[in-house]
Point group: C2
Chain length 328, copies 2
């Protein structure tokens, strides 16, 4: 007995831990075509010597954030942050009461904010995202996330992450993938929470950015945030962001809106095994149902072209056993 | 005997592989203050529970490339590439014979090239680095590196890497560091060789870049290189590049010129254990000797301020047993 036990230990160490049991993989995904497609793809690219094998350094998976990893309704989390910041900063800016887009924000007049268009958004970003050191901005974001609550669920925004996607991130990493966020959101807005929330380190977060400069103030070096757009990581900007930061083409891409179309197109049109998946928000009970007509996360072309492009459309309603971690 | 042998195997598996023997570490570095400083720093930040311990995700080390990882004399390798490309492309551009800076390049008149200043360099970069797809540019770089030879050593440029630095990269990675290139050189010029030469994957290469755009040509998506400077990763640009790509401050930085000053300053002024090192080119026999008066790799402020800033100055002559891998 004891001798066999020793042998068992030695063998375990020698051949490594036993592979994860299939039943344990992606427990919040219902059995079915979607889960099967994911698992079969991963099995293919990790089967050494197999026809679909991909070397670990090439196993890059990219994820949109808003609507793909966490909820984006009733508005992008970063927009809620901007609105809250304007209100918090208003006492120091009495002139904002008379001046759009700030006036509209302070009056909770979202139609007025929207009427300001791109110029208005830039003014809001400049006022709330620039003019401070980068570490100061990180502290502001972290502080806000610790106290702000989602209007529908009355929970911190960080609890509105999708449990199936957290499992998917972990599953891919366990299979030698490097997981990246590629989002239209601000890179310095996402980095403070991406590591704890998703296990994605700051260097694997790609997003939109304003310009920064290096400055030595009173002997102390700092990165200072400037009121000027640097890079917009959305639509055709996503492949450019991927190319700039990663320098190679991912083999898996996950998105939920037409803002992710080019990222999926770029990822899945390369040679060898490729995988594209669109999260379809069709669950008005547990989350939200929206696609073609939505202002936030509009999805039309992606739905139309997914079949011919071989992209998997994951139905929140049918494919996900659970949506949020707080669900019983 | 056999029982003890079994026990030894079990213990080895249980506690992990034995630590590398000190004598094996950095064999091309001579015993002395410089090597000791490196090894002591690494031992400190990896000693779990120790006062200088740093978690693995924070173990970021950044390396300049030209003059720090490979030779930069008699001219930057990328400049040699540009000059060769102009000559190779000249038959398709008869107008270049009359038009500077191309005329000077074709006449091997380096003073004339230098007289063209920044505008001239931009024209050369636009002509040789832009207008093609990114994968086409990669193929051009790879092809050139396979045939071009260094004028003094008559070997491929890729053989002019510093053996002590290759050992250092491997040593840091073996100790849980993520190693990055942070260079003024073009990111897409470096990525094709960084992985095979240095073991640094493309996503850990930060450099200067021109703008790119995503385009679908005849149904095939591509990243197209545009004749417009995107980002200059030199001097105060280096901390900005680090911040943009990595999003956290490195704890070790290695450079050789004043172009690396801000990178070392930014790295070493953070809290906790910090390490900065300047490679001093003082070996005219095996490599080159240059610093304060050199056009390439000028080093003056770094030498002046290294002592008060606690930066290590590594002497190629005294600290390196071997410089290039091809040396016996």
């Amino acid at each position: 007995m004891q001798r066999n036990f020793l042998l068992a230990i030695i063998l375990t160490f020698a051949v490594g831990a036993p592979p994860a049991v299939a039943a344990d993989v992606l427990p919040s995904w219902r059995e079915g075509k979607t889960k099967q497609a994911i698992v079969q793809f991963v099995k293919g690219v990790t089967a050494k010597g197999g026809p679909r094998y991909v070397r670990p350094p090439e196993r890059i998976a990219v994820f949109d954030n808003d609507g793909t990893l966490w909820a984006e309704q009733p508005m992008y989390v970063q927009l809620a942050f901007v609105l809250d910041r304007v209100k918090a900063m208003a006492p120091q800016h009495p002139e904002w009461k008379e001046k759009d887009p700030f006036r509209s924000v302070l009056a909770d007049d979202m139609a007025g904010v929207a009427a300001g268009g791109e110029k208005g958004v830039l003014d809001l970003v400049a006022a709330t995202h620039a003019g401070m050191r980068s570490d100061e901005f990180t502290a502001i974001v972290t502080g806000w996330l610790a106290t702000a609550r989602h209007p529908r669920f009355d929970r911190p925004y960080t609890e509105l992450v999708y449990r199936p996607m957290l499992e998917l991130l972990a599953y891919l990493r366990a299979n030698g993938f490097k997981t990246y966020i590629v989002s239209g959101g601000g890179v310095e807005f996402m980095r403070p929470f991406a590591e704890t929330l998703y296990g994605i380190p700051p260097e694997q977060v790609i997003g939109s950015s304003i310009k920064t400069k290096y400055e030595v103030r009173g002997g102390k070096p700092a990165i200072v945030r400037l009121p000027e757009i640097g890079f917009v990581d959305d639509k055709a900007g996503k492949p450019v962001g991927i190319h700039t930061y990663i320098g190679r083409r991912p083999i898996m891409a996950f998105g939920n809106s037409d803002g992710d179309f080019e990222m999926l197109e770029w990822t899945t049109s390369g040679p060898g095994p490729r995988f594209g998946l669109i999260v379809h928000h069709d669950d008005a009970v547990r989350e939200w149902a929206y696609d073609r007509e939505s202002h936030v996360g509009r999805l039309a072309r992606g739905l139309d072209e997914a079949p011919q492009r071989g992209w998997v459309v994951a139905s929140m309603q049918r494919d996900w056993k659970r949506v949020f971690p707080f669900e019983k």
